[in-house]
């Protein structure tokens, strides 16, 4: 007790840690299965996997993926799992480090009648995957495996694969893995950042509670001792808690900067677009701008089945052409304004009639057009000068 009173801030921090760890463990124990403590990890020998597509080497304890067929290499384990629901986590070691969505896990309930399920493995520091993220996981699984996508002839080495039940140890590992999960820049980044919020114990909640709990204990101790609060110590604890989460964020930023550097560094603006995820569309629209469309800005009407990323980004890629991208079927005004119709994805009921050189849809709707450019990414039609609207 003397020690506690002599080092009140340190004692408060330790006490807060104990209270938080104890509460968290009870909370997690109540949430985990009956095997919370006794559950055992089941190792899966990588030798039990066979190549369905592509090829590679099998050595004791490791499997090397070296060749691809049509850009894919598939390895499969036909031994399956009698009761997959018993396992919550999948662990493995894959080198070199994998990229998000590059390595889907697939599984069948029954190879003959069942539907193939796939789930993208999220990038995380511990190669520790929570299978509960896939609603269909559970029951007997007749076959499972991994689908590798070719990227510059990349070789992969897979080893130390195992399934684990929902034990406390695995839960803590999973939480830690969630906290350090790399969150790549995406369209939601400017709106919110997950930061492991889907974890059973979000890092922000844990650190925030720990700091405030420690300061509460400290205030109570000092009040009991009839001593004044040490402002510098309070400031230090507040700042330490903040820095702890900032370290996690900086680690994410470091990985992001590295990724940006690897993909875009030293490239011109157009080379950067060529290296981006939507490079195919960029090239397609550049071709339209440079080779197909006149230099003067034209009216272009984008028709698509639904709203999506590529439809929304067409005006950006085709600027300064005057793009209208809100319809699925042509409107009467298109004929009056003239210009081009661009169909990015097939729209149900909208067809090009070769004989009459018209776009037809619905109950007699038609627009006279001439095909200007055909490509799997989209078809461009020029509205004929004498274009009139019929419906």
């Amino acid at each position: 007790m003397k020690w506690v009173l002599r080092l009140p801030m340190l004692s408060s921090l330790l006490l807060a840690t104990l209270v938080l760890a104890g509460t968290a463990t009870i909370f997690l124990y109540l949430q985990t299965s009956t095997e919370a403590i006794t559950g055992k990890t089941t190792p899966i020998a990588v030798d039990s996997f066979r190549f369905i597509k592509g090829g590679g080497k099998q050595q004791p304890g490791l499997l090397t993926i070296e060749r691809y067929t049509n850009g894919k290499a598939i390895i499969s384990n036909l031994q399956g799992l009698e009761n997959s629901g018993r396992f919550r986590y999948l662990q493995f070691q894959l080198t070199p480090a994998k990229l998000m969505d590059d390595l889907p896990l697939f599984f069948w309930r029954s190879a003959k009648t069942g539907r193939l399920h796939t789930m993208a493995l999220e990038e995380n520091i511990l190669d520790h995957l929570d299978l509960k993220h896939h609603k269909q996981w559970g029951g007997p699984v007749s076959e499972y495996g991994f689908i590798f996508s070719e990227k510059n002839g990349q070789h992969w080495i897979l080893r130390e694969l195992s399934f684990s039940p929902d034990t406390l140890e695995q839960t803590y590992l999973s939480i830690f893995s969630d906290w350090l999960e790399f969150e790549v820049w995406s369209q939601h980044s400017v709106n919110f950042l997950y930061g492991g919020a889907h974890s059973r114990l979000p890092a922000t909640v844990v650190v925030g509670t720990w700091v405030l709990l420690a300061l509460l204990f400290y205030s109570l101790l000092m009040h009991r001792n009839k001593q004044a609060l040490n402002i510098r110590k309070i400031a230090a604890v507040l700042l330490f808690g903040w820095m702890l989460l900032d370290a996690r964020w900086l680690f994410n930023l470091f990985q992001q900067t590295q990724l940006t550097h690897n993909i875009y560094a030293g490239k011109s603006s157009s080379e950067q677009y060529e290296a981006a995820l939507d490079a195919d569309y960029y090239r397609y629209f550049q071709h339209l701008k440079k080779e197909v469309l006149p230099a003067e800005p034209q009216f272009i009407y984008v028709l698509d089945k639904n709203s999506n990323y590529f439809r929304a980004k067409t005006p950006w890629w085709l600027a300064p052409h005057n793009v209208f991208n809100q319809d699925s079927y042509p409107r009467p005004e298109y004929g009056n304004k003239g210009g081009y119709v661009l169909i990015l994805h097939p729209v149900p009921g909208l067809q090009f009639d070769k004989r009459t050189q018209t776009l037809r849809w619905g109950d007699g709707g038609s627009l006279p057009v001439t095909p200007a450019y055909l490509d799997p990414l989209g078809t461009l039609y020029k509205i004929r000068e004498s274009g009139r609207w019929y419906e």
């Binding site: 919110f192 997950y194 900067t257 993909i263 005057n322």
Partner: protein, 470 residues
């Protein structure tokens, strides 16, 4: 040329900010970080206005004419400031403050972290193609169209566009969003002479530097200890959502953070120092915010209410609240003002002048809001610390600081409640697309409130005379 493009509006704005601050009765020296911070936003606003004005007058986008006008404004501003500061007695307060012992190491650590955050954001902002959705559908898209067509082509509604054959008229869903941010992005490429995404959006990153300087400067004007100032700057720049907007610039929320966020900081500073220049600057920035993004009107109204609460006695405020309740009950709560339009409340609808209307439609978004504030990593521990410190200030804070802080937070809560809990806008919280960005617009002020709370709880009351000493 690019450095000139980025710095010229900044210099112009800083000079005019110095002139504005010269009207203060409380200080003789120029608070350089504050002038640079606020000056950046004022300067870019002036630059955008100059582009628009000169285009309207001469019908062409000319970087030379805009540069000439900005240089002229800078010279005029400098002359006026020089005269106002008694012909050359203008001195700049910018010397490094002496920090000793462990504090020095801590300050160094924090400064290093601030630089790391800014450097990481700068690398991403400069090195990658434009990523955020609204940037390439709205804000930067307009700048690109204007640059490539060399005209400030109008953006109109779908119906208007379909009924015109003029190829110089464009349409986007957000056609009625203010043009200022797009004009800010147009400026560097106008001088560069070639379209480049990274160059266009790079001022967004500089806006982050300006926010940091302004926050530091305002704290210093209140005489706060240097470590608290640096810590405040670190807290601001390490907020992950702000970091993201710096690394992926292109949205207008960061810019509104400069106008609304810094506007509120100036008002909070005034609430402590009673420096009327800060009141003027605060209201000016909140007013300019209207031209940056539509939410600016919301923040201006909140700012006006904040000032009202500070200047009126509690009795008068109570009487006003009672009158308002009576007006609503008796059906006289809606006024139609010339130019401003309808303002008030009637039939379950708030009429907010040109901002439009908010129809009451209660929604339960509490879970989404709690996740956004406390569980996601958007804000580090900001809301944990804000809630705890406000509770402490309420219980044992000094009276002088209690009223401004509590009224600011209560008004902010009222805005959030009205917009997200009581209106259809709540849908935007459920998919987390708007809530975080709305708070980002006042983020600098929230950090300032946190610092004020710290001062109110643990330090001597802030002194308005601090500027004179510094």
């Amino acid at each position: 040329m690019l450095i000139f493009a980025y710095l010229l509006p900044w210099i112009t704005g800083t000079i005019w900010l110095v002139w504005l601050e010269s009207f203060s009765a409380q200080r003789l020296q120029v608070n350089l970080p504050r002038a640079l911070g606020y000056g950046f936003f004022l300067g870019y606003f002036l630059c955008s206005t100059a582009i628009w004005l000169l285009y309207t007058m001469f019908g062409q986008l000319s970087a030379t004419m805009v540069s000439g006008l900005l240089l002229l404004l800078s010279v005029l501003g400098f002359f006026l400031s020089w005269r106002k500061h008694h012909h050359g007695q203008l001195t700049i307060s910018g010397k490094a403050t002496d920090i000793k012992g462990w504090d020095r190491w801590l300050a160094l650590l924090l400064l290093t972290l601030i630089i790391i955050h800014l450097a990481a954001a700068a690398y991403d902002a400069y090195s990658r193609p434009l990523l955020p959705w609204d940037a390439w559908t709205t804000w930067t898209y307009r700048a690109k169209i204007w640059f490539l067509s060399q005209e400030l082509s109008p953006f109109v509604s779908t119906d208007a566009w379909l009924n015109t054959t003029n190829p110089g008229v464009y349409t986007i869903p957000a056609h009625n969003y203010p043009a200022i941010v797009s004009l800010m992005q147009l400026w560097p490429v106008m001088l560069h002479g070639q379209w480049n995404d990274a160059l266009a959006i790079f001022p967004g990153l500089l806006a982050g530097v300006a926010l940091v300087l302004a926050l530091y400067g305002q704290g210093r004007s209140l005489g706060w200890p240097p470590l608290l100032l640096i810590a405040g700057v670190y807290l601001l720049i390490s907020i992950p959502l702000l970091d993201t907007h710096l690394a992926l610039p292109g949205y207008a929320d960061l810019w509104l953070g400069g106008f609304a966020g810094l506007g509120f900081i100036a008002l909070l500073q005034w609430s402590q120092s009673r420096d009327r220049t800060q009141l003027l600057i605060g209201l000016l920035f909140l007013g300019l915010g209207i031209f940056v993004k539509r939410e600016g009107s919301l923040w201006l109204m909140m700012g006006l209410l904040f000032v009202t609460v500070q200047v009126l006695s509690w009795k008068l405020l109570l009487a006003m609240t009672a009158s308002m309740a009576l007006a609503i009950l008796s059906g006289y709560s809606l006024v139609d003002l010339p130019w401003l339009g309808q303002i008030g409340y009637a039939d379950s609808t708030f009429y907010l002048s040109r901002l439009g209307t908010i129809t009451l439609r209660p929604q339960d978004v509490s879970s989404a809001i709690i996740t956004n504030l406390f569980s996601n990593s958007n804000w580090n521990l900001l809301y944990f610390y804000l809630c705890a410190s406000l509770l402490l200030v309420l219980l044992r804070g000094k009276q002088g600081a209690k009223c401004p802080m509590m009224s600011f937070i209560l008004l902010l809560t009222a805005v959030i409640t009205t917009v997200f809990f009581l209106s259809a806008e709540g849908e935007w919280v459920k998919d987390s697309t708007a809530f975080g960005r709305l708070l980002l617009q006042v983020l600098p002020a929230l950090i300032f409130v946190l610092q004020l709370n710290w001062q109110a709880l643990f330090r001597q009351p802030a002194t308005a005379q601090a500027d004179e000493k510094r």
